[in-house]
Structure formats: C-alpha cells, structure tokens
Amino acid sequence: MADHSSHDPLAGIPFDRVPPSGRYGAAGEPGVTVSTTDTPFIALVVARNGFAASVAARLGRAFGVEVADRAGAAISAASTVVGTGPGRFLVLSTIEPDLEGTLRALLGAEAAVSEQSDASVAFNLTGEKVPDLLAKGALIDLDPRVFLPGHAATTVIAHIGVTLWRVHESGWRLLVARSFEASFTRFLVASGAEFGLALENGTAGRG
C-alpha cells in the first residue's frame, strides 16, 4: 500500500502494530466482517505411526462429529476437528480449558498432543465478499461453489501460512500464527477495503 494514497485504509497505522478495531474502506454495509475476539482452546494431535484411523475415530466419538483422516473440518457446537496433514488434527474447543490433558487421556499412546491455544490467532470472517478478499492472497480455489462448508486447507495467504475452513454458508475461519497477526490483519484491511471491512479484535476502536 502506497504511503501517499488518498485512500490508504492503513494510513497512519504503524506496520508493526495490529490495526485497531473499526471500520475500514468503503462506507455502507461491510462486505466483510473480521473478528478475532473468540479465543478457542486449541491443541494439535499427531497420530503415532499406524494410529491415524484410530485417532480419527476416537476424536469423532469424543466430540460427536465425523472425523476422517483428510483435509476437512468436522464442526459441532463447541468443538471443531480440522485435518492439517495425514494423522494430524487441530482440535478446537470453546469449553475444554485443559484440552491438552483431555486429549492425552483420550488418545493415550496413540498420539502426541501439544498445547497450541496461544500459537495462533483465530480470525472469523463473515460476509458475502470473504471469498473475493481471500482470493487476493490465496492460491487455492475458494470459490464458494467448490469450497463448501466443512472443507479445510492448510496453505499460504499473502505469504503467511494459514489453516482455514469454511464454517457455514458465509462464515470462514482462519488460524494464523500469532507472530503474523499484524501483517495478516494489514493484508485483510488493505484487500477488504474495497468491500468495506469491519474489524473487531478487542483493541481500542478508531473513530
């Protein structure tokens, strides 16, 4: 983004600070709403050799969803299981503070579990223009007629690694490494400005 543009949505915001909550870009009903205020508990499960199918089945039973060993998101009211690689599952929960402990108890020697609640920032993106915004950074097919609710991908957006899945018709969720929050939010703001973007990340809003 140019420093002198008359319509730079990031004007005045230091590049090394997360842009504050507020409205950016075009006025009117925002085409995209971005929120990072939900902070789920997250853990990574890596099945030990030969246990991928069994781990998937156990996770499915425990969380009441269909989990398969593939790139997909199994979503229930309080938890989500996302495949990020063969035998690798990210588990998100809104109700299990000791998710790591719960999963260790559940999976025992079948999987390695690591705490990841602080490793990433969960971006919730809603709005009709989300696929158009993400297409400005992603190199995968996010056409809503192709990438359906429950589809997931671990990929790169604007040179930043993300795991993303489509939660429902107009809702998308992205996990981005915590250290990249400022840069990734800048990408969202710059790319979403044409649609109008509402950002809520718990920081002091801007007028």
Binding site: S5, E115, A158, F187
Partner: protein, 990 residues
Amino acid sequence: MSAPNRNRLTSGGLIDRAKSLGFSFDGTSYQGYEGDTLASALLANGVRLVGRSFKYHRPRGIVAAGAEEPNALVELRSGARREPNTRATVTELYDGLVASSQNRWPSLAFDALSLNRFLSPFLGAGFYYKTFMWPAAFWEKLYEPIIRRAAGLGRAAEEADPDHYEKATAFCDLLVIGAGPAGLMAALTAARSGARVILADEDFLPGGGLNAEAGDIDRRPAPAFAAHVVAELTSLPNVRVMRRTTVFGVYDSGTYGALERVSDHLPEPLPFQPRQRLWRLIARRAVLAAGATERPIVFGGNDRPGVMLAGAVGTYVQRHAVLPGQKIALFANNDGAWREMLAAQAAGAPVETIIDVRAEVAPALVAAARAEGLRVLTGAQVIATAGKTLTGLTVATPSGTERIAADTLAVSGGWSPAVHLTCHHGGKPMWDAGLAAFVPGTCPPGLSVAGAARGIFGLGACLKDGAAMGAEAAEALGFTVPAPDVPEVADAAFALTPFWHVEGSKGPAFVDLQNDVTAKDVGIAHKEGFRSVELLKRYTTLGMATDQGRTSNVTGLAIMASLTGASIPETGTTIFRPPYTPVSLGALAGHHRGKDFRPVRLTPTHEWARAQGAVFIETGAWLRAQYFPRKGEKDWLETVSREVTAVRASVGLIDVSTFGKIDLQGADVGAFLDRVYINGFAGLAVGKARYGVMLREDGMVMDDGTTARLSPEHYVMTTTTANAAKVFQHLEFCLQVLWPELDVALSSVSEQWAQIALAGPRARDVLARVADGDVSNAALPFMGAIECTVMGGVKARLFRLSFSGELGYEIAVPARHGAALAAALMQAGEEFGITPYGIEALGVMRIEKGHVSGNELSGQTTAGDLGFGRMASTKKDYIGRVMAARPGLTDPERPCFVGFRPVDRSRRLRAGAHFLKLGAAPTLANDQGYMTSVAYSPHLRHWIGLGLIKRGPERLGERVRAYDPVRGEEIEVEICAPGFIDPEGVRLRG
C-alpha cells in the same frame, strides 16, 4: 482550436454522443465521447501528428486501433501519476484526460532533434554496439548525453506511485482469451454446459472485431449480437466476464497471468479501488481467441502521419464513427482490405482510390469498387509519400508513375494470427504459405486456439470454430455440451498475394516504426552477417519495446528472407515470451510494497519492548529489540555497553521467543536425536537439557541448540532463529524418508511459547519471585529443565541455560502471557536494577563468552572447526558423520575457531578482516582465515573478536595481522582462547 469532432460522422458507431468528454493533448483542449479511445478522439478532432520517433525524431501519427500500435505513444496524466509510453489506441477516454506527446523538443510541431536524421548513419543498425567502439572518453562526455536526449521514449514519474495495486487468483474449467467472434462462441458454448468459464478481453467493450463489423449476425447488427452474447454470459453464475483484462502469459500447470486495468479509464481510482489487478488464472483448459494483427507493406515514406493500417481505418469508421481523413486511399495485396474499404465507404468515409500490388483482382470486387465510384489501380505500388502529414502519394503503375492526392493511406499487407501465447512454452509457430502467415505450432498443454488466431479469417468460420473449440474443451473436461447454436454468416473467399516491401521506393522505408528500423537497416544486418532472426532483432532492435514487433516481425523476416534467398520458414521467427503487453511493476508487487514488502513477525513482547523504548531491527522475518536506549546516551555502543554491564553485574532480560521450538514425542525420540545430533542424547535424563550440534549430510554444521527431556517420551528442541524452518524440514525428512520406522511425532510449538531469557548473578533471585515453586540450585541445577507454573498459576517451562555466560534461565509461558511475564520480571527485578537488553547486547555477551552463532555457522564450518570435535560421539552413527571424516574436512590446516584481541587495546576490530602472518604479503596464498565476529567488551574495556584461523587452538598467544582492505585497515592481533570471560564456567553454575 478547430471545430470539435470535425471528423466525426453524425450517426453510427459505438459511442454515446450524449456523453461528451473533455480532454487535452499537449495543452490544447478537445472533446470526445464515451466509447472513444484517446486515438479515436484525437482523429475525430483532426489531430494527426501525435509523437516523434525514437531515434530520428520523425513526425508520427496513429497507425493502428489496438495493442499493436507502434507510434502513438503518449505520456498520460501528470505528476506522480504520469505514465510514459501509453498507447493512445488502447487508452479509454475519460473526462479530464491529460496527455502529452513525448520525445519532442522543444515542441511536437518543431523538433530541433529531427536533425537526427543527419546523424542517421550513426544511429542505424547496430548503433548500440558500434557506439561502444568509439573512444571511451567520447562516449561518456559527448555521445551518451546527446544520445540520451535524442533517442528514447517517455519520462517516468519522479514521485512514488500514489495508487494501490493488488493481486488475485481465480480458478476455472475453461479460460477463453479474447471476446471476439470465436471467443464469444467458445465461452457461450462451454458456459451452457455448466463449466466454470472465465472470458478475458483486453478491450473495454467485449466483441473484438464484431465491434467494427458492418454486417448483421442473427438479424442483429454485429456489435449488438456481441452485446447479446455478453449479456447472456454475464447472467450465468458459472461465468466471469473480465473486461479491460489482458492475458499476458502462459505459465506451468494451466496458470495464466492477466492484468486487469480496473481504474485506468478513470482520472484516478475510485476510493479503495486498486488501479490495476494482477490475476493468476488457473484453468484446466484454455481457448486462445486473440484474433489477428494486420501488417503493413513497407515502402518509402511509410511513416508519414496519415499512413495507417486498413483495419484501423475500418475500426475508426465503424466503431468510433470517426473519419481518419477526407481523402482516403488503400494500398493492399488482399481482398479483405478492399471489403473493409467498401464497408467504410458505405458508412460515409471518403475512400477514393484503391492501389493493389496484384495485377489480377477478382473482377466482381473490382466492379463493386468502381460501382461505388472508386478509382482502382492494380499492379501498382506506392513508391513515395509527401507532406508533413500526408498530402499525396506517388504511385508506380504498369503505365507509369503518377501522383495521387490523399490525406490518409490505408495499408494492408495481410494478417498475422496473434500466436504469441502459444509460444510461451517454447512452441514455434508454423508458416502457412496459403495464408502467408505464421499459425500456431505446438501449444502449451491445455491450450487450444480458435478463429483468426489460428488463421481462420472469415467471420462465419470464426463463429463456428469458436463454438467447436469451446465444445471440445468442455467435453474433454467431462461436461455434456448442448449442441452449439451458431449463426450462419457467409464468408467471402480469402485472397492474398504475399507482398512485403516496395523496393526502390524513395525515402526511408520503415519496417519497425517504434524502433525506427528501416528496410535498409535489415540490409545492413544482412551484409554484416547478423542474419539469424535472433541476431537481426538484437542488432537492429527490430521487434523490441512496447509493441514487441506486432506489426513488424513478419515483414522484417520476409525482407531478410528475400536477401538471403531462403524461404520465410527457413529464416525462422522470433520466440514470443511473456508478457504479451507491458505489465506495470506495481501490479506485480500488489499489496507487498513498502513496509508490506513481506510479512513481519512480531515477538510476544513487541508492544512491551516498544513501551520500554526499544529500537527494533529485522532479523529474518522477525522484528526484534536491538537495544533500549536511554536519555542522554550518545550512541548505540554506550547503550549496549550499559546493558551488558548491567547483566554481568546484576540481572537483565531478553525475549528469545524467536528460537525454533520443536516438540518431539514417542518411544524412539532418544534414538532419533542420537542420529541427528553429533553428540549422544539417549542418556539424557528427564528434567535435563543438553546442548547439541547437528550436521548436514555433507559433514558441515547445520545448526545448534538445546534439547530438553520433559518426560520419558516427551522432548522439546530449540533451534536458532534463522534455521527454525530448515531444521523442522530436515527432521521431517529424516522421519518420513530415512527412518519411517521410528516412533517420533513432531509438532512445531514455536508460536505457542513466549520465551524470555533471564541472565545475571541476580537471575535466580528474580526468578524466585515470579516462579510458583522451588528454583533453587538443587531444584533447578545447571542444564535443568522443568515444567511448573509462574505468576500464580500460569503454565511454564523453566530451562537453566546460558548464552551470556552468566547464571541464566529461559522461561517459557504460553505466548499470550509473554508480555505479562516480562512485566512481572521487571517488577520482581526492580530492586536489582533489572535491565531489558536487546540482541546487540546478547551478541556482545556471547562473543565475550566465546559461543558460536550465525556468523560461525556459515555452512562452511565443521564441528571440528568450531571446537566441537570432542563432542562428536564415536559410539554411534549420525547424519554427516561419514562425510565429516573426509581428509579435507579433518585437515589440521583448516581454519579453526579461536578468539582475538588487538595488541594495541585501543584499536577497533573489524569482522571480515583476513588474517595474515606478520610480514606476509596480502595474497590469497597467504590467507590464514578471517574474523567472524567482533564486539566491544565492556567487561574487558577493549574490542574482542572471534574467528577462524589455520591451526588456531595450537597458536594461542601468537600475533598475526588482521587485514581489512575494504576499510583500508590493518591491525595486529593476538590469538587467544575463545572464552574472554569466566572460561571455567563458574558463573553459570553458581
């Protein structure tokens, strides 16, 4: 100012006469209409002289009506938005457009440098190369300044570009390139099968040639038919119609590059809109329907303003309702151009004369022309032109030479299919003798060609071919394609006799108007032996620059062929490479410019450090605190020395979250670590950490770090910041490829944990106030590693490690607590004067302590070089062991790691200085090694260094020279052991 739109027809055309647009050219104001290009609006206003040529400053006018325009390049806009070399023929007119001619001085009408034609012997073929052979002093002082002023095109803006650009990706089953008759039918046919279709067209009005077509299609005027098809396409959810979008390149795996000019038709982009958007289009199949480009006939004086391509004349008349002139003549070698002129005449254009090189032309066509009152000269050639802008022609006919009055000469030498994109994977076009044109050869995988782009020149045939190609592509992708409904259009026969160059005509005969390359230059290139097309191109510059030889390549080739006596296909064709048309650098960068050039990573304590006054520095992708200056400190050295002294005297803290952290779990982790580290890890006790060194398979050191065992089957490894990703990838290679049988699961936990190093004699006192449990020497001895809680219940990992040489700990907490931990440590350490320090102080302390770091882990050092030889286990195998034993890597003469201090303690040391024996000449043969790291040691109060020198450890106490020719310095230094402080390690065990 003359009468506005004096050359505009009163009806017809695809312009909106109700929407008048004001614009200016070279300071004069004019009016045009919505639907105009800058070129059509200039012609409508009678402006025919639009620029000066590249080398000879000859007056030039508008030649074409599309992207192939070689002449009408203007500077568009002003100030920071000024853009040079913009083709007026593709510049959509907008209200308030400001353009100026370029390469003229002092004015377009009077150009002092048109005298360049007297210099033309010097500026001819090969002038770039010959010029360099002139005396060097002349070049710099005389010729370069003159040529820079004389030869060249527009001026770039001098300010930063104020606009915003972006990049985007879209996927489709079928990409159709070009929305002319073939493209529209291809897109429609495939779209009706349900395939996802993208139709990209460079024009602002899709339709291609249909927009300049006079006849009806399906009982509608041709442009209305095009609009009707576009409307249906636009209404379909599986179709994306991209206007103002040029597909400029074909890349691997069905990836196409395209540039969408989102806002170039506006005075400036609308708020929050990009100026241009670079598209990566990923298509399973593509149909290229880019049409064909008309080519001129080369004759003397063919660059005079008023000489245009015949199809361009037709386009201006039919599409823009503009008469390019009041007395129009045609010079051609084919029937199509005749029909074009007859249609233009029917629309109201004053076409008077047809000159055809062919002796025999279809009698029906001749009769039709004569019936319309046109004069027809067959077997005739234009041999000269007259006028500043064209006023007359000299024509050689079978019965003699005559002069003909004309202000516009429409020229047609035939058509060249736009095969460019078919060549982007190395495919070579093939010569079609019947068409006298190159047609597509081997195409990139998944790309097929339809319509005029593959040499099908009839409108009816193009519609059919487009439908067939669209259907074929969709069916190949598994779609069921309804029978295409293609309107019937009767095509006249294609009739053309190849003709390229009027030999013996008067005045320079330009082959490449944009580069001022004449037929004579081609002759010189031939005479001097530059006969291959690639050499011809480079020697004469034929076919270079913005038009990439659209109108000149085939003609140049044909002239060369006639000189060598070879055929055109034997002579070859130049290879077309991306981009098809120019792409701005801004579009290629998109969002990633300035500070957003690449993403930055911020540490968990970034905001806390900022509040402490930190100065930040980029280290790889990370932004880290470099140092924390205080008021009154005069430079960074004073600050860093204060930080180091504070740590050594009391206590300090630094964020080391940037280290890579890898979680390893499984029954075989110990065995695995044994195979990747040179030293043994199988015996590491739970609750302990160990320093390890990892080699590459070639025996060089890859990385170092510590690994701690948290429980019997759970370990956590740290890597250097720089190598975090590389080490993870390496470990995955070992596990997935080399030893898949091992039970080890890897997870990156780098982002999960904030990690703060606490160092100094008071470190334990501070830690005890923050930790919830016992951190005594007994509970957490040197190299201890425990899981516990801090700050009243925050999960934590404590490692007793030291990089500084002081009593040290690394405290890891979940990242969201990182800043709180820093604040808690500051508060707990307040009474000890706890000091935040940055990576500069960290660097000074590791040099004082003699630890290796990135400068020493250069990829060219072995474990032995760095003093880790004895660490290497002899009881096991590990990655790199076999290759590290090679004689060259165990040679005692290898430069090895030691410390250095200046003999004159007041002297400053420099990293990068090379070591020489005292009295030895500074030659490569005498090179003994080099200084890898230096620092001012506040502890010793002089500069110290680390480095690699031959047989270093055997030479402690010896004096050598540190020779730094880059800075012109030479210092006598003394070799010493690398530990400058507490070499016995008492402090860190305390």
